[in-house]
């Protein structure tokens, strides 16, 4: 037979699960009032709160190695600056990519463009070409949007992991056009869509039977 839940039990459970954040002063007014009302009459929760306070005290020790870490990272920044100055085209594209853009708007814009069927025609003729203008660029077959905080390294990692190559972009919606071989199409899409740094990856061609 099921035991009916009493209002007091419910209040106790709610207050108890909020105690850790009450102990650190991180509750909003509503939550805090709920906890305080219950705490005044609940010996068990008062004891729980003492446990939370002790946990805060116990978890304070840390041995940061700030100096050596900063020295190491300073070297990477210098490399990053040299790297971007050697790659003006990429650097310029990167600055465009980094301009604030509302992600949902970008995604919505991309979805609209894909549905309208115009994206392929637009992106298969990228505004910039590299390594010789006479070479016809490969046609892209996947469109991707990376997260706004994805770095160049994150993007390169995603491309390497999926086996995709960059064909064009970024568009005004911060989308890139990629090329994956038809044989690897499904695996590459799966890899991109599973990547935490990828916000959206969609094919823009027909899957081969």
């Amino acid at each position: 037979m099921a035991v009916p839940i009493r209002p007091d039990d419910d209040a106790h459970a709610q207050a108890e699960e909020l105690l850790p954040w009450y102990s650190t002063g991180q509750l909003d007014e509503t939550d805090r009032a709920l906890v305080e009302k219950h705490l005044a009459s609940c010996v068990a929760c008062q004891r729980e709160l003492r446990f939370d306070h002790r946990m805060v005290d116990e978890l304070q020790s840390l041995d940061p190695q700030v100096e050596s870490g900063w020295s190491r990272l300073r070297g990477r920044i210098a490399q990053d600056d040299r790297g971007t100055s050697r790659m003006p085209a990429l650097s310029g594209a990167w600055r465009i990519l980094r301009q604030p853009a509302v992600a949902t708007l970008a995604a919505a814009q991309l979805a609209f463009v894909v549905i309208a069927g115009g994206v392929f025609l637009t992106l298969s003729r990228p505004d910039y070409q590299t390594l010789g203008g006479s070479v016809q660029p490969a046609a892209g077959n996947v469109i991707v949007i990376f997260r706004a905080d994805a770095t160049q390294k994150d993007i390169l990692d995603a491309l390497h992991a999926s086996g995709a190559s960059l064909v064009g972009g970024p568009t005004t919606a911060d989308a890139y056009l990629l090329r994956v071989s038809p044989e690897r199409r499904a695996a590459a899409l799966a890899s991109l869509q599973a990547d935490d740094d990828v916000q959206m990856a969609q094919p823009i061609d027909e899957a081969r039977p």
Binding site: E58, V66, R72, Q99, D196
Partner: protein
């Protein structure tokens, strides 16, 4: 310096002799100045970036230690996180606190690192529960309790450990933690509930002394 100021408004209730008090932490929620630092970082101001790094390096090192066990991977993920901050600070639009944004980047990178380098198989969990028998020496007894607690922390899953540390050490609210870890707030509360139970179990008969 951040370590000298605590602007949090803590709960004031006193109940049956238990005064709730916000604890003084080495790390605290983001302050408005951190948004200013991010603005300067987006303009590639190295001095601002160094200041931000010195604020976040200890916090991230500690956070990442809970998620990946190999020190060299912690170091690599921490550096990659701060490089992401350096390169993408312009994309921070203030929808969340700077700390939430930075910790979320670190969490995603830690998950990717764990996928690339799976954690070594854990040793069988040693029973570190504290005996009910009184210890001959008080200091030694406290050390046993401390060790038992650390052992229990090690025994938690990385995600449970991260929630415990983000709550007690980094003083983040459950909504921020949910945002960082990309999960519902109820999941955060549930993880914390089970983690606390495990930690208390580890203290066993010594819990009363510990409190």
């Amino acid at each position: 310096m951040e370590a000298q100021i605590d602007r949090r408004e803590g709960p004031q209730v006193k109940s049956a002799g238990t005064a709730s008090r916000p604890r003084t932490n080495a790390a605290r929620p983001s302050r408005p100045e951190e948004s200013g630092l991010l603005d300067r970082v987006s303009a590639r101001d190295v001095h601002a970036f160094e200041e931000l790094y010195r604020i976040y390096q200890p916090r991230l090192a500690r956070f990442l230690n809970n998620l990946v066990s190999r020190p060299q991977i912690v170091e690599e993920v921490l550096d990659d996180t701060m490089m992401a901050v350096w390169q993408t600070a312009g994309s921070f639009r203030g929808a969340s606190k700077p700390s939430t944004w930075i910790f979320a980047i670190a969490y995603r990178k830690a998950l990717k690192a764990r996928a690339r380098w799976p954690e070594p198989v854990a040793e069988p969990v040693v029973d570190t529960r504290v005996s009910d028998e009184p210890a001959p020496d008080d200091g030694l007894h406290h050390q046993h309790l401390h060790d038992a607690l650390l052992g229990a922390m090690e025994g938690l899953s990385p995600d449970h450990r991260a929630v415990v540390d983000l709550t007690y050490f980094h003083s983040l609210g459950y909504r921020e933690i949910a945002e960082i870890m990309g999960c519902p707030v109820d999941t955060v509360k549930t993880r914390m509930f089970h983690a606390r139970r495990r930690l208390k179990d580890a203290l066993g008969g010594g819990l009363d002394d510990w409190l």
